[in-house]
């Protein structure tokens, strides 16, 4: 594929196009991409190991921080698995509230993606406008759940906050405003010449490639595979709502944009139905601290694709094993296929098109290995003292500064 002598350019861990650290080494001939090697793992935080020595309640908040944008997806997926093991009957109202927050999160994630895509192709005006409109749904979420991003509305056995009637009215108003703005963006994305030129025919992934490489979510749906976990394996309140799966047959980045915009329109339909028929009832039931022995696997349709959680419980109050497979991990294998013989300039938009969330994918280990065989793994203290004497050699003494911080 790409031999050594090729002109290799690293779109390295730190790069303006990538929102999170991941390594692509691209072999180039002029502007054409010959081959791509993908190096992941820079953002691996060892969440799966960390889950094993925390109680289920603490795990809830840890798993929510796997990713900043799809925090509700991970926490709902985890909570459903735990409730399945403990055989808890979650009340209908709690499931409805969970689904409303899930769709609101899908709206804010897709708006964020639309802005980032605009930025990747150099259209900053789209970024500014989409992120301004995204504030509507962010403020709404802050009102409903108490925080703009990590909502932590889920708890084992239900939800922690109820939705009052005035909040229901606010949701409906916000949804109307957002729907009108989304219609405007659909017009823009499908008619603006320079956007279409940069998106059409870029990052093509044929239908059988998508099936073979296991693409999920909008990336797969843009290649004509109508697979949506909310429809195939309904969870929470999705079985009581009618919506259709947004698919497209363009198989390229333009198709993914159209799929995401259609999904936004579906989300508004779902929220309107949900807010209309939220049943009365309790929002949380008492959950035991020790979860009985058992295992469960739960799937969730995150904004980026299908999110899979496997939880194994051993009767104590700490899970024995938590396995998280984020949607980006499934889509990343398709990126290699999409980038063959494309231009370098398409690289950022193709990577952004699968809406990578590498903090989900990696779940790294935070480690201070003091007595490791490798001598060059520095601990934080040795790194700081090393830099202080490095500057002292050049006549600037920072040692007093470090006392102040340590002191």
């Amino acid at each position: 594929m790409a031999e050594e002598k090729d002109f290799k350019i690293p779109i390295g861990p730190q790069h303006p196009a990538l929102k999170e650290p991941e390594g692509f080494s691209v072999a180039l001939k002029g502007e054409k991409i010959l081959g791509v090697e993908i190096r992941l793992g820079y953002n691996h935080r060892g969440i799966e190991k960390a889950c094993e020595d925390r109680t289920y309640i603490q795990d809830l908040y840890l798993i929510e921080r796997v990713c900043g944008i799809c925090s509700h997806s991970h926490s709902t997926c985890f909570v459903q698995a735990v409730e399945e093991i403990a055989k808890l009957e979650v009340s209908k109202r709690a499931q409805y509230i969970r689904t409303i927050i899930a769709e609101l999160e899908r709206i804010h994630s897709h708006f964020l993606w639309l802005g980032v895509a605009g930025h990747e192709i150099g259209f900053d005006t789209l970024l500014m406008y989409t992120w301004r409109d995204r504030e509507i749904v962010m403020d709404l979420l802050a009102k409903l759940t108490g925080n703009r991003v990590n909502y932590s509305i889920n708890t084992i056995g239900g939800v922690r906050r109820d939705i009052t009637d005035s909040q229901k009215k606010e949701i409906l108003e916000a949804v109307d405003k957002l729907e009108e703005r989304t219609k405007y963006y659909i017009e823009i994305a499908t008619q603006e010449v320079s956007i279409i030129k940069r998106l059409k025919g870029v990052g093509v992934l044929s239908k059988d490639d998508a099936l073979r490489l296991g693409a999920v979510g909008p990336t797969a749906r843009a290649s004509g595979i109508s697979r949506d976990t909310r429809k195939d394996d309904p969870y929470a309140a999705y079985s009581e709502v009618s919506f259709n799966v947004a698919t497209d047959t363009n198989c390229d980045v333009f198709g993914r944009t159209v799929v995401r915009l259609k999904e936004l329109m579906e989300a508004y339909k779902i929220i309107r139905q949900l807010v209309g028929i939220v049943p009365a009832g309790a929002i949380v039931i008492r959950a035991p601290r020790k979860i009985p022995v058992g295992e469960a696997i739960s799937r969730y349709e995150a904004p980026r694709g299908e999110d899979v959680h496997y939880v194994k419980a051993n009767g104590t109050e700490k899970p024995e094993r938590v396995k998280i497979r984020a949607p980006t991990l499934a889509n990343i294998q398709a990126v290699k296929r999409m980038l063959e013989d494309r231009f370098l300039a398409d690289m950022p938009i193709v990577i952004a098109a699968i809406d990578p969330c590498f903090s989900c994918t990696d779940r790294a280990i935070l480690l201070e290995e003091k007595n490791s065989s490798k001598k060059n793994i520095m601990t934080w203290q040795s790194l700081r003292s090393y830099s202080i004497d490095w500057y002292r050699k050049r006549g600037i003494d920072f040692s007093k500064l470090s006392e102040k911080i340590k002191g």
Binding site: P16, G122, T125, M128
Partner: protein, 312 residues
Amino acid sequence: MLALFFILVFPGFIFLSLLGLAGQFVDRKIYARLQNRMGPPWYQPFADFIKLLGKEDIVPAEANPRMFKLMPLFSLTAVVTAFLYIPLWDIKSLLSFNGDVIVVLYLLTIPTITFFIGGWYSTSLYARLGSVRALTQLCAYEIPLFIGILSSALLANTWSLSEIALFYNSHPWYWTFNFIGFGVSLIALLGKLEKVPFDTPEAETEIVAGSFTEYSGRLFAFFRLTMDIEMIVGASLITAVFLPFGLTLHPYISLVLFLVKIFGVIALISLARSLFARLRIDQMMRFCLKYVTPIALVQLLINIFLKGFLYR
């Protein structure tokens, strides 16, 4: 002594850099307001410039230090000298001889060459790619720019900017024939200034900062100042050639009118900047050579017929 004053202070370096920074402020403020944002305070460009001057400028190890350090100065001098030939407040510009339109156009090409050499000598992958792109883009937008501007000079039957101004002032409303040329040169100017539809050489989401990736501190400050002054000089070249009215009034009034015209052109540039996505380098070449150049040729044809018709 007076020449030194002209070169260094009035239409020269000091006035031009202040105007350049003011131009950058106008550009950023309008661009922000178009995007429904607040936009920077008026002193932001000055603060950026002074901050950059204070920063440590690092020269990469493998880079050729002499070339690396000289490029910003070359580009700055080229752009500042180009300004001396443009009639500011009355018909006669400071220096003018028959053929100074060509000189100004070539002086405006020098910055792009220095970006290439600066980027190439800084031996970083991104800088290399950015500088190669800067050159390929050069061939795409130079042709329509030259045709557009020279077609208006053709109508005025001279190659000197001052005589162009003289001609269009003595024949009022003739400059309206060059309207197509004005549009074409504006698009080409977007390419020269590397503004969004054509800013692939400096595309920050692909190749970090193009040829400026390795520059920092004073050198980077001079490069950015060059970009600002190039915007002012480009805009003033277009106003001198395509909107040459109002030069015979009282010098102060025509100077103010000239500044208003320049800031008008800059507003047009930021409007264009906020409306389009960045084109890939091959799309940009195809667009420039397939659409913009033929339109420029049409403008040239119109002027040739007009010339025949006017001077029968």
